[in-house]
């Protein structure tokens, strides 16, 4: 089976002080430390697990980004992905979710994929639209918020996280599966992985390779415009419960209100 996992390099969400460029209204990506999206690390781990379980399969990491995004694909290779493809082209700068999905879908079509994994959303832009876009462009089903995946013949069955528990749903293959955050522990690369990553193939593709015109993508082809940016509302202070004898009761009620109990 041919499996793909779509990944992205993002400003380290844990340390970078997010800066927004008031002119372009976009996230500043230079001068900050860039890492493989931590969410993608779990998605990659989920994909590796499934590849090993299904057997006789190849797992390819697919990313779109500047040449520096190689670092992120290296990490994916070190974690255990078999090979990686980086689509990089100056014309891609400023692409929106629509174009990104279009470009990734073109590469996936060219390669031929049975199963495509994506994180639910990226940790920088949080649009969450790319996986759906890919499914749409490829004309295949999308299974979202998976926390457990099984492959049976030509069928994918997932446990899909919903507010009150989970649903079990299935679809035919090929399909796009998005992973519910927090469902899979990220694999920490072994030394063999780190050293082996240097020898694995990392293919670079340009727009020309995919037969996409520069005008369709990037700033030029963007369908979305960021109209304005503003400060998020400060979070309301939490509730502190002092124990005057019925703290347990109050905590239980609180949890019940959010259907956590």
């Amino acid at each position: 089976m041919k499996m793909f996992v779509c990944i992205k390099q993002v400003p380290d969400p844990n340390t970078a002080i997010s800066k927004l460029d008031p002119a372009t209204k976009r996230l500043v990506r230079s001068g900050v430390s860039l890492v493989l999206d931590p969410g993608d690390e779990s998605t990659i781990s989920a994909a590796i697990k499934l590849r090993d379980k299904v057997g006789n399969s190849e797992l390819v990491a697919l990313s779109m980004g500047p040449a520096s995004a190689q670092e992120a694909t290296r990490r994916a290779l070190a974690m255990g992905v078999d090979r990686a493809i980086l689509i990089t082209d100056p014309a891609l700068a400023g692409s929106d979710a629509f174009s990104t999905a279009q470009v990734l879908a073109a590469a996936l079509k060219k390669e031929g994929a049975d199963l495509i994994f994506c994180s639910t959303e990226s940790t920088d832009g949080y649009t969450g639209m790319v996986p759906g876009g890919i499914a749409e462009f490829l004309g295949i089903p999308q299974l979202t918020f998976a926390r457990e995946i099984t492959i049976e013949g030509q069928k994918a069955i997932i446990k899909r996280v919903i507010p009150k528990g989970y649903q079990t749903i299935e679809s035919t293959l090929p399909a796009v599966i998005t992973i519910a955050s927090g469902s899979y522990e990220a694999i920490y690369p072994t030394m063999k992985g780190i050293m082996g990553a240097k020898k694995k193939t990392l293919t670079q593709m340009s727009l020309a390779d995919l037969g996409i015109a520069a005008t369709q993508v990037g700033e030029a082809g963007a369908h979305e415009r960021v109209l304005s940016i503003g400060k998020a509302e400060a979070r309301a202070a939490g509730q502190i419960i002092k124990d005057d004898g019925n703290a347990a009761q109050q905590i239980a009620e609180f949890l019940q209100r959010y259907q956590l109990l």
Binding site: D12, N14, T15, A16, S33, E185, Y188, G193
Partner: protein, 711 residues
């Protein structure tokens, strides 16, 4: 040389029989020992031939002087006499053997002085055996249990030694009686009044019978030895001789880390010969178990079983290791339990780690080194444990899940948290402390460490250290964002690669500022005119100080492995120096609270620094230091070392609370510490036992800074 009065064998026939028996036993013994030695020869290499003079000295002290076991007085003294009795009895034995050839030992054979010494030791060994038997049979300290040898092993050995001395005494008595006093021995003379009335023929037969019994026992002992815990008798002298002479706080470097096939130890074949010799030398005394903080709070870690586990793994795999063509496998007289049947092999097919040695045990270790400190035969537990962790981390990626973020953060941010390293100097924003980049000529670099830089509680310690340095007019600076995690937690957890990356980076920074005491510097002018380089002598004494024992230990003892040689001291030592040179003046006796001091493992046992912190405390505190029952090299870990502070403690009692309770038992109001991790662990522990009202946890620097401020 006086030949014996009566031949013990009764003629050449008996003597020939004895010679044959003797040779057979020797061959059997030789094969067993040969097999053990071959296993060592086939193991990985390791050089232990440095410091030869020191090695000889230690050998005298520990082996002949028995200094290791004597630290535990009762069994220690008993062992001392058994050991020396054993050696002296060998001479008696030689004498008895020579008797079969109508000869005797030159000098000693007919010497009354020797006869007296020999008999005194016979009695002393008998007394020692009583002590041992009471310990093993009645007191039964838990630490004597062994997974490798059943309880019978100890008793078999005690029985054999008893038989040896008993038959020896009987040989002496009946020989004395049969020769009517010509073969003088004190025991013979003592018992003569009882035996003189027995008919001489009976005495002669008894003499010969016991001679044969004595020989049979000794030869039996010889054959049994290599497969019992008393293998230590043969191995310990070598183990002590080959003990490590490297700084004890340094873990061995994993060389060529980018080009290796394996990273650490998962199979017993990956240990070095010295690590395997440790197993042969283990006396199974269990002293290490008695002091282990993990075991003593209910964790599944028995340091003794780590050593014995490796030994067992070696033995069960010995067939495969030696190879089919090995003479030992062909002879089939294994003597040690190698797996032979397919079922046995199947049972041990899994690697040693995760099989005979459980991973839970490996993760429970705080690397406190209490086990190594107390082991009487210089066995090295911690490097073995870390070697096995290395395999788990770097080969299997199998470690407590909490640690993943630690690794990622150190790798990305240069500190254990999700904090940008740019903020490293923020704690010092209002303190007017120059960065080294602004004051590159500073005499002293204060290495703040991650805890001091980012941890709220420990920022107060860092502030105190800075205040003290200012009060003493020290020209110092900090690195700020140029400082990165030393890598110590990564190395202790087994991520050697991450440690090497961090260390290399920090060494580059420190060398860049000229702190390396060994860097050959190029003299620009010299090179211009003569085209040669000279080794620059450091014009200035430049010291690195740190309040973190873990930073201190790894910079001092481990960075040299990668070419980083620095003069680095723990802040308490530096403060002690400032006091001694009168650079720092303190209001003596200012602090009047009752205080106890906890020796951090990485300052105490790792670097033998016990007195400096106490001296400082004695100056500042009117009551001096009230010691806890376990102090100095017996200090009981806070539970945070070896990366444990980053892992959850799910099993058993809490180590930190155990130590806090010990501190509370001294009725101290202050628990003085010298390590950011100890402070964190203890404050947590104090809260856990609800003793916030009773006792405060303070760094020594805080106590001093407080006094300076109130002056």
């Amino acid at each position: 040389m006086t030949p014996p009065t009566i031949s013990p064998t009764g003629g050449w026939l008996g003597t020939t029989l004895f010679v044959l028996l003797f040779l057979a036993a020797l061959i059997l013994f030789g094969t067993r020992v040969g097999r053990l030695i071959t296993l060592l020869v086939k193991a990985r290499p390791e050089d232990r031939t440095d410091h030869l003079n020191g090695r000889v000295g230690t050998f005298f002290k520990v082996v002949l002087g028995q200094s290791g076991v004597l630290r535990d007085p009762i069994p220690g003294i008993a062992h001392f006499f058994t050991f020396w009795g054993f050696i002296i009895i060998q001479f008696g034995l030689l004498n008895l053997i020579l008797g079969a050839f109508n000869g005797s030992l030159p000098w000693l054979g007919d010497n009354h002085g020797f006869a007296i010494v020999l008999d005194v030791f016979v009695v002393l060994v008998a007394l020692a055996l009583i002590v041992f038997a009471i310990r093993r049979g009645i007191v039964r300290p838990r630490q004597l249990n062994s997974s490798l040898h059943g309880p019978w092993d100890g008793f078999i050995i005690l029985g054999l030694i008893l038989l040896v001395i008993l038959t020896l005494a009987l040989v002496e008595s009946f020989e004395y009686a049969a020769s009517a006093g010509a073969a003088w021995t004190p025991i013979g003379a003592l018992l003569y009044p009882l035996l003189r009335h027995i008919n001489p023929m009976t005495n002669l037969v008894a003499y010969r019978t016991f001679w044969w019994l004595h020989m049979a026992t000794v030869l039996g002992f010889l054959i049994y030895l290599p497969r019992s815990k008393h293998l230590h008798l043969l191995a310990t002298p070598f183990n002590v001789f080959f003990r490590s002479y490297k700084p004890k706080g340094a873990l061995p470097l994993l060389e060529n880390i980018e080009e290796r096939d394996d990273y650490g130890v998962s199979k017993v074949e990956q240990f070095t010969w010295k690590q395997l010799l440790d197993g042969y030398a283990c006396t199974e005394c269990g002293r290490c178990n008695t002091v282990c903080p993990a075991l003593n709070t209910g964790k599944p870690l028995y340091p003794k079983e780590i050593i014995l586990g490796a030994k067992e793994a070696l033995f069960v795999r010995s067939g495969e290791i030696l190879g089919e063509n090995s003479i030992y496998n062909k002879l089939g007289i294994a003597g040690i339990k190698a797996d032979k049947t397919p079922e046995e092999k199947e049972a041990h097919h899994e690697p040693m780690v995760g099989g005979i040695i459980s991973t839970e045990a490996l993760w429970a270790c705080t690397t406190c080194m209490a086990c190594m400190e107390i082991c009487p035969v210089a066995i090295e537990h911690v490097p073995k444990i870390v070697d096995m962790r290395r395999s788990l981390v770097m080969e299997e990626s199998a470690f407590p899940q909490e640690v993943t973020s630690l690794f990622n953060n150190i790798e990305r941010n240069g500190n254990p948290w999700e904090i940008s390293n740019d903020k490293r100097a923020e704690w010092a924003a209002d303190l007017e402390i120059p960065l080294l980049a602004e004051n590159p000529e500073a005499d002293v670099l204060y290495w703040v460490g991650c805890m001091g830089s980012f941890d709220r509680r420990n920022q107060q310690v860092a502030t105190s250290v800075a205040k003290i340095l200012k009060a003493a007019n020290v020209n110092f600076a900090i690195l700020g964002p140029e400082e990165s995690c030393t890598g110590d937690p990564a190395r202790r957890i087994g991520n050697e690669y991450l440690w090497q990356t961090q260390a290399t980076m920090n060494i580059e920074t420190l060398n860049g500022y000229g702190f390396n005491t060994k860097t050959p510097a190029v003299n620009a002018e010299d090179q211009g005119s003569h085209g040669q380089t000279t080794t620059a002598t450091l014009t200035k004494h430049r010291t690195i100080i740190t309040a973190c024992p873990h930073c201190f230990n790894t910079i001092k003892n481990e960075y040299p492995q990668l070419g980083g040689d620095y003069e680095v001291v723990h802040h308490t030592v530096y403060i002690d120096e400032l006091l001694a040179n009168s650079k720092l003046k303190l209001p003596a006796g200012f602090d009047q609270r009752k205080l106890t001091y906890h020796d951090p493992c990485y300052v105490g046992r790792y670097n033998d620094t016990y007195e400096e912190p106490r001296r400082v405390l004695t100056v500042i505190n009117s009551n001096g230091v009230t010691e806890m029952p376990r102090n100095r090299n017996k200090s009981f870990c806070c539970g945070g070392g070896g990366g444990r502070v980053w892992m959850e403690e799910k099993v058993g009692k809490r180590i930190n609370q155990t130590r806090v309770n010990e501190a509370l038992s001294t009725e101290a109001e202050v628990l003085a510490a010298g390590c950011p991790f100890c402070i964190t662990m203890f404050e947590d522990g104090v809260k856990g036992v609800e003793a916030e009202e009773k006792m405060k946890v303070e760094d020594i620097s805080e106590i001093i800074a407080h006094a300076l401020e109130s002056k």
